[in-house]
Structure formats: C-alpha cells, structure tokens
C-alpha cells in the first residue's frame, strides 16, 4: 500500500521534481484566477447570474469575518476568502476522476498553515506596531509569555495536522474500501468526504480569523458593527 506520507512525482521541470499535488494546486489556482478575472472584467450594477453567485460568496465571507472578528472585513477579506475558497475547491477536487486533493498531502497543508502563521504576525504588527504585537504575548499576564509563544507554534501545527488528517483519512478510507469492494460501495463515503471537506475549509478559515482577531483585538476598541452595516 502506498504511504499517505509520501508524494508522487509526475514530471520534472528542469531539475525540480513536480509532484501530483503541486500540479493539481496549479490547476486549481489557474481555475480560480481565471474565473475571478473573467467575472471581475464585466461587473455591472445589475448582476448577471454568475456575478450574483460570486457576490454571494463574498458576502458570506464578509458576514463571517464580521461575526467572528468583530471588525470591518475589508482588510481581511482577500486573505480569509482566498483561504476558504482554495481549500474548499481543493477538498472537492476529488470529484474529478483521477485527481487526489492536494490538501491530502502534508506539504500543501504545511504551506497553508505557514501562511496563517505569517498572516497573524503581519496583521498583528499592522494593527499595533511591533511593540503592540509583542505586548499581546504578555496577555493576560506576563507569566503567560512562554506559554503564549509555545501556543502560537502548536496551534499552527495543529492547523496543519487537522486539515491533513481529515482530508488524507478520507482519501485513505476510500482507497481501502475500493480495494475491498468494487464499483458503487465507496459512494456514501465519498459523499461524507465532500461534507468533511466543506466543513474543514470553513473551520480552517474560521480558525485563521480567530487567530488574527486574537493578535489585533487587544489593540483596537471593538467598533459597533451593527450600526456601521450599510443597508442593502
């Protein structure tokens, strides 16, 4: 049985080996970027069906950021939204025959978790300066400084392991069931996999929001969001 911890090299780009998950990631990036550019090029005040669908996604992300972080969503929309949409599409890419979701590979998840780790530092420093960001480690109490440092590393690691474990175990179980029983038996498991994939994408985005909110919230007094919402 192929180990889920190794990755398959499909071709070489010069001296650099390109694994299957990297190729799928590039394909997903191309599809998302192409779709985004295509929609954004012909935006109109009276939206077409596809524009309405995209606006729905953006609105949902905005609402989640407002509810979870209690700040105006604009600075965080791009990062959180991209995380959610990418992981969602990556998890559901197993619907395409022959494609294994890139999030079932340790490297992709490590890259995503690293992005969140760096984004927390970036947004924290932007909100309160370097001193302000470092001061959040001394909250609620200077005794907590070593624990807070360790926590910022372990939560990144658990973010990585959570996504990897969930997606990979789904792929693995389907592989085992397929080797035991043929044609239609794995379909319920695949449906469960789609549900898990969607929930994991949501959870990854929400946890990224919670971590970023933890780095910025002590610096800013929380504005009253409900009064700022523009009526539609």
């Amino acid at each position: 049985m192929i180990s889920p911890l190794t990755s398959v090299v499909v071709f070489h780009l010069g001296p650099v080996p390109i694994t299957a998950s990297v190729a799928v990631t590039w394909a997903i990036m191309a599809v998302l970027l192409g779709g985004g550019i295509l929609i954004a090029r012909r935006l109109s005040l009276v939206p077409s069906a596809s524009q309405a669908a995209f606006e729905l996604v953006v609105d949902a992300v905005d609402d989640q950021i407002r509810d979870t972080m209690r700040v105006e969503p604009a600075p965080y929309r791009a990062f959180i939204g991209t995380l959610f949409v990418f992981i969602f599409v990556a998890n559901w890419s197993s619907l395409v025959p022959g494609v294994e979701p890139p999030t079932a590979d340790l490297e992709t998840d490590a890259a995503l978790a690293l992005l969140v780790f760096l984004a927390v530092i970036w947004f924290g420093i932007r909100a309160g300066g370097v001193r302000g960001y470092l001061a959040t480690f001394a909250l609620p109490n200077p005794i907590m400084i070593p624990l807070n440092f360790v926590e910022s590393l372990t939560r990144t690691f658990s973010l990585l392991v959570r996504l990897f474990g969930n997606v990979m175990s789904g792929v693995f179980v389907i592989g085992i069931v397929l080797s035991l029983a043929g044609l239609l038996v794995p379909i319920p498991l695949m449906a469960l996999d789609l549900l898990t994939g969607a929930v994991q994408a949501y959870i990854f985005a929400v946890l990224a929001m919670v971590f970023i909110a933890g780095a910025i919230s002590e610096r800013q007094p929380a504005p009253d969001i409900s009064s700022q919402r523009t009526p539609l």
């Binding site: 180990s3 889920p4 911890l5 509810d67 392991v161 474990g165 969930n166 175990s169 929400v206």
Partner: protein, 81 residues
C-alpha cells in the same frame, strides 16, 4: 516478521482505538449541549452552530493526532529502517 513490526502494528491499532474514545465522548457532550441550547434559544442558532463547529474541530484534533501517530508507526517508523 520481526517483533518490532508486530509491536508497531498493534500500537497503531491501540493508538487509534483508545485515542478515539475521549474525543467521541467529548463531541457527544458538545453536540448535546448545543442541541439543548438551540432548543431553548432558536434565535441564537447561528452563533451556537458556528462556535460548535470550531469547538468540534478542536476536539477532533485529538483524534487526528492519534491517527497521525498510527500512520507514523505504520509508514514512517524510524525503528524499522
């Protein structure tokens, strides 16, 4: 098959089976509490289910750790090299 491989396989099974008990009980309690809360206060269902999902993910991580340990034992065991 040498005894190290045998012990690794058995420990992997033990890690997953016993590691799943705690998170299963915890998730059951969390969902039951959330159901209770939603039944009492249906208008807060959105907030409750969002918090529930994040909490479940946190709890589930414990089981996933055990799974990763089991996979390390089976596929990347440093003692079996």
């Amino acid at each position: 098959m040498n005894w190290l491989a045998l012990v690794s396989i058995i420990s992997a099974a033990v890690a997953v089976s016993f590691g799943a008990i705690g998170p299963a009980l915890a998730e059951g309690r969390a969902v039951a509490a959330a159901m209770d809360a939603i039944a009492r206060q249906p208008e807060a269902a959105n907030t409750i289910s969002r918090t529930l999902f994040v909490g479940l993910a946190m709890i589930e991580t414990m089981a996933i750790y055990c799974l990763v340990i089991a996979l390390l034992l089976l596929f990347a065991n440093p003692l079996l090299k």
